[in-house]
């Protein structure tokens, strides 16, 4: 009951903000389209960062192919609306336009997420046996394979890119899905299953010895993370109305990693903060665009020196304000005697 109320409240607030921002609710009141677009792209980045954090931050498996799964979701869902959109809409002609558009968007996102999840499964099963650097290299390779593969399918535009995608996504949808992503990841990491993920991050051998099916846990978290990236891709496609594989290069994967590293691996609020900071800096430095990457590199170096665990580290934003629980002092014993 409480959960339902909270969900309705969230939807209401998002609809209200959507109306105010786009100027359709109060005449004469709106924010500039430029700012609105940045907010929307930030929302998509939140989905990407939080979902990547599930695999990189909580499970501790360093994946750098997230843009590939985003690309699959983007192209799959865009292909659905471009190819079948008209037919689906005319079949649903008895419904009001808003409902029809929403259903079409949801259907396309489901397909995008499903395909990204399947790709995540196919990539995850063989590669999650690898650890550390090896996994990073394999996921990087897979991410690029996915991109080149899409680039060579003529039915979805190939090198021309895919255009004519209807603008079905807006501030409301993007932030609704960002909220869902945050909610799901939050609940997963605070569950019995989530504890197995963190245990894998801390010590995989010990986790296996304590009865955690590490392969299974890793693959599930990878698949869930990929599906969420697929949703982000679908929203991206239906917001910008044009797709090109250049949006899904490994640079995009690196950008998502920068967001979660800045915010703190293993912190959901950190990822949200990182996503906003990243896009804020990108836009703020637009005038000096040729120096932008220099500033980013310097920022990363400074953060890694000053705060290697990221701004929030493993903690969540709220925990810094939470009343510090009184803990009994750790008994400081004498150092162990040397046995002979």
């Amino acid at each position: 009951m409480k959960a339902l109320l909270a969900a309705l409240l969230l939807i209401g607030v998002l609809l209200l903000l959507n109306g105010v921002f786009s100027g359709s609710l109060i005449p004469g009141v709106s924010i500039s389209p430029y700012v609105l677009q940045i907010l929307c792209l930030a929302g998509i980045n939140i989905i990407l960062a939080v979902s990547l954090n599930l695999i990189n931050g909580f499970t501790g498996q360093f994946s750098i192919g997230h843009a590939g799964f985003m690309g699959i979701g983007a192209y799959a869902s865009a292909w659905i609306t471009v190819t079948f959109g008209e037919r689906i809409l005319s079949a649903l002609a008895f419904l009001p336009t808003l409902v029809r558009d929403s259903l079409l968007l949801l259907a396309s996102l489901v397909v995008g997420a499903a395909l990204a999840a399947v790709a995540g499964f196919l990539v995850g099963v063989p590669s999650l046996r690898l650890r550390g650097d090896y996994l990073a290299i394999v996921t990087l390779g897979f991410g690029e394979i996915i991109r080149v593969f899409i680039l060579n399918i003529d039915a979805i535009g190939g090198a021309r890119g895919l255009s004519g995608i209807p603008r079905l996504a807006n501030f409301f949808w993007i932030y609704l899905f960002a909220s869902v992503t945050i909610f799901v990841v939050y609940r997963v990491v605070r569950s019995s299953f989530g504890r197995t993920l963190i245990a894998i991050r801390e010590d995989e051998i010990a986790a296996e010895a304590m009865g955690v099916n590490t392969t299974r846990s890793k693959v599930i978290s990878f698949v869930v993370s990929s599906a969420m990236a697929g949703v982000a891709g679908g929203l991206f496609a239906h917001y910008l109305m044009y797709l090109h594989t250049n949006s899904f290069t490994f640079i995009k994967s690196i950008e998502i990693i920068i967001m979660i590293v800045i915010g703190g691996l293993g912190s959901i609020t950190g990822s949200v903060l990182g996503a906003f900071l990243f896009i804020g800096l990108t836009e703020g430095l637009r005038e000096f665009s040729q120096y932008r990457m220099i500033v980013f590199s310097l920022l990363l170096i400074v953060i890694m020196i000053v705060r290697p665990q990221g701004i929030l580290g493993h903690r969540e934003f709220g925990s810094f304000f939470a009343r510090k629980r009184r803990r009994p002092p750790i008994d400081a014993r004498t150092p162990p005697a040397i046995e002979t």
């Binding site: 197995t196 296996e208 010895a209 803990r327």
Partner: protein, 253 residues
Amino acid sequence: MALLDLDGVTMRFGGLVAVNALELHVEPGQLYGLIGPNGAGKTTVFNVITGVYAPTGGSVKFDGQEIAGDRTVRITRRGIARTFQNIRLFGDMTVLDNVKVAFHCRQAATMTSAVTRSPTHRNEEARVEKEGRELLRIFKLEGLADEAARNLPYGSQRRLEIARAMATSPRLLLLDEPAAGMNPQEANELMDLIRWVRDQFGMAVLLVEHNMKVVMGISQTVHVLDYGATIAVGPPAQIQSDPKVIEAYLGGA
């Protein structure tokens, strides 16, 4: 038929024979000590039993079923739990969460139930919370439940490793040098604890330990390895006076 039967287990690493035709039988509820000089193959035996290595020869039977070469996680679920010689706790997790992870393999929790927070999931979480705290109380760690495991003093980390292994409800507990780095007082407490836990939960304990006071103090049977081969098996008193054991430890005259 014993609880754990190792018959002719051999483990070769290239030309090195780490364990040679080992016969080892642990009865249910038995306290079994495995000792030997450094490099005798004790930890290799542990790694063979827990499925880290598949033995190059012989059979490992747990409760009558062949487990040689099985995956570690399956062996744990069958009822064998272990601790590690070099402590392997989940350092950044709290003490309580360390124990809760080990409960997972006896839970029905899935990812979907975690997202929906179904009543089953909540009941199970409540049960795990209660049983986890109970285990910590037994191991005198209840005051440290919310502390990160890495911040614990050494002796407490060793106790937490045993508590965590207990959470998987084992019928056989493998302890790899549980008294390492403990002072005599802590080692004594540990002996009492191992005995108490064995009586309370009725599982067998296979113990690798260099602290002779501990091994001789609690083991019913002591098994001595040297260069991968058995040199003596018997009750502690008999082992202590065995000339071959003395020679292995002190060198021939």
